[in-house]
Symmetry: C2
Subunit: 336 residues, 2 copies
């Protein structure tokens, strides 16, 4: 079975987009549901998703396990997996890790650009690694099956998350900095360590992460994919487009500024380029994922590797990541 | 398979009580987790339960489906099903009905003695039936599989809940008022209507619901059970002891007063008898449920009826009540 999975999108969701997922044959998407929202505010966002699941049951349903990807394929729908790009939703309460997992959260970033209660973001001057609470939350996320996502974290924090976590982590949407230098892209050294630990890289199509930005060619992006596979491993790379389709610019401001400052922070943008950047001409919506497959073929990758990158690798990662961790007693019994 | 299920307890939970559940061979308990707490406060109470599930995995686990009762029996544990005795946990937000169900809530009372946003409690002077929001929430509870519990509601509200609900409702812990007159006990007329609608009555062992209070004999209680079976139906009656084991009297004050008054309200008690009443001498903890079975045998009930009352009836009710309601399309497909 070959699956088509996008490991990160944050669109202005609508029936149109859900139908485009079906037109594109997308079996599963990891969607960002929350950034700086408190627990209660995040629950309101889940309630909105519940409404969409109720309104469009023929198009989408909530994914909770890797098996739901198979179920999506068999029923001609797209499984939606929830993620958070910041730990605001667990507030200062480690008990909310399990609660959020019960509500379907499957990915949580420890930081979004800034210092959080858990770790340092990639825009801080000082990256001090995992905090005391960060180490506890990593262990709790491991226990319940909530994947640690370090896409927006600093390098030291990411190394420490890999080291401290007993289960593979992910960088769901970023590219190698050796292809395009950016605070959000990752060093070759970090990507090698990620791959050696069984961790996962989702390749971004967001212009600020691309060589030549919005003018990045599909060929250049696919050559980058080959580089990423060399660094992280052919079974540890997938797609994480960071598609922010149909979003107004007020949203990118919320993502960058939240409630942490009264000033404007431009994040990856600038005063002259404050809004969402134009997407490259080969990727506008879910129907364009097929074109990426063509590009990878043209770049000379073999079909098995391409199948992995387009979805099978994420599926295997979902399969080992979303369930509860075996207890020490269960591990001991299995060994006897 | 014969199960042992208690349809309502609110103890001061501890390892001691969980071990008594095992000694008593109790397969499942519907436990009250929240009264007047907001959504966020209720989540804190769920977090406490998650800690107990993590600490005592050999004794208890969270039940979500009727099949979990079978799983409990097979693994020698007790399945814990969550319930709320007031709708405070959904606040004024119908979207929280599905969220609470996802978190495992399986029973919710529309009222606790007082008027709520949904219906009238049994202590109000005027029972005005289901409110506008009440009718919407009943339909939403039907949709997701959250059982409507009218134990503390007024008579008109309960009749209207039976009429408006498309799925059977429950009165999880009360007795016939014709046996012992009390605001919390239910009229013969109401109990007959409950049974005819497929609804369910859990028989209470809480002294304020008993003839002769704390001095009620087991024989009297078992004769009452036979009366209830005549009124509601042999397959529609179970146990709902309302056991409040080891609770300090501050808890019964919270149950009665919440945050709705600055004065003291004694509820079923009185100034002279403000605290928890002494339990009857034949029921102190989960190990005493076996004695109720003996009492029912002595009262002349047949074994099949007793098996039903002691747990099999609740199990069948769980089986038809906790899952999502078939959509109109699914019902139509099944009919074709």
């Amino acid at each position: 079975m070959t699956y088509l999975i996008d490991g990160l999108q944050y669109a202005n969701w609508s029936e149109k987009i859900f139908r485009q997922m079906r037109s594109g044959g997308v079996d599963a998407v990891h969607v960002t549901i929350t950034y700086h929202e408190t627990f209660r505010e995040t629950v309101l966002l889940i309630e909105q998703w519940n409404r969409w699941f109720e309104q469009y049951p023929d198009l989408i349903f909530q994914g909770r396990t890797a098996d739901d990807v198979r179920h999506a394929r068999e029923t001609g729908r797209t499984a939606i997996f929830f993620g958070s790009q910041n730990p605001s939703c667990i507030e200062d309460d480690i008990g909310l890790v399990e609660v959020m997992h019960t509500l379907g959260l499957r990915f949580m970033q420890l930081t979004y650009n800034n210092q959080s209660l858990l770790a340092s973001g990639c825009y801080e001057d000082e990256d001090t690694g995992l905090t005391r609470m960060g180490r506890q939350v990593v262990a709790e996320m491991n226990r319940v099956g909530l994947v640690i996502d370090m896409s927006h974290s600093g390098e030291r924090s990411t190394f420490e998350a890999i080291e401290h976590s007993s289960r593979p982590i992910t960088i769901s949407h970023a590219n190698p900095a050796s292809w395009h230098s950016a605070l959000r892209n990752k060093s070759d050294d970090l990507l090698r360590t990620l791959g050696q630990s069984g961790g996962f890289l989702g390749l971004s199509a967001y212009p600020h992460h691309l060589k030549d930005g919005s003018k990045c060619t599909l060929q250049s992006w696919c050559d980058m994919a080959a580089l990423a596979i060399d660094l992280v491993g052919s079974q540890n790379v997938g797609i994480g487009t960071d598609l922010c389709q149909d979003q107004p610019d007020s949203i990118v401001e919320w993502m960058r500024v939240g409630r942490w400052t009264k000033a404007i922070d431009y994040g990856e943008g600038s005063a002259a380029n404050a809004g969402f950047p134009a997407m490259p001409n080969w990727f506008h919506d879910n129907r364009d994922l097929a074109g990426i497959r063509e590009g990878l073929l043209a770049a000379g990758l073999d079909v098995e590797t391409i199948d992995g990158v387009m979805g099978d690798n994420w599926h295997a990662f979902f399969d080992k990541s979303f369930g509860a961790q075996a207890s020490p007693k269960e591990i001991q019994n299995a060994a006897e």
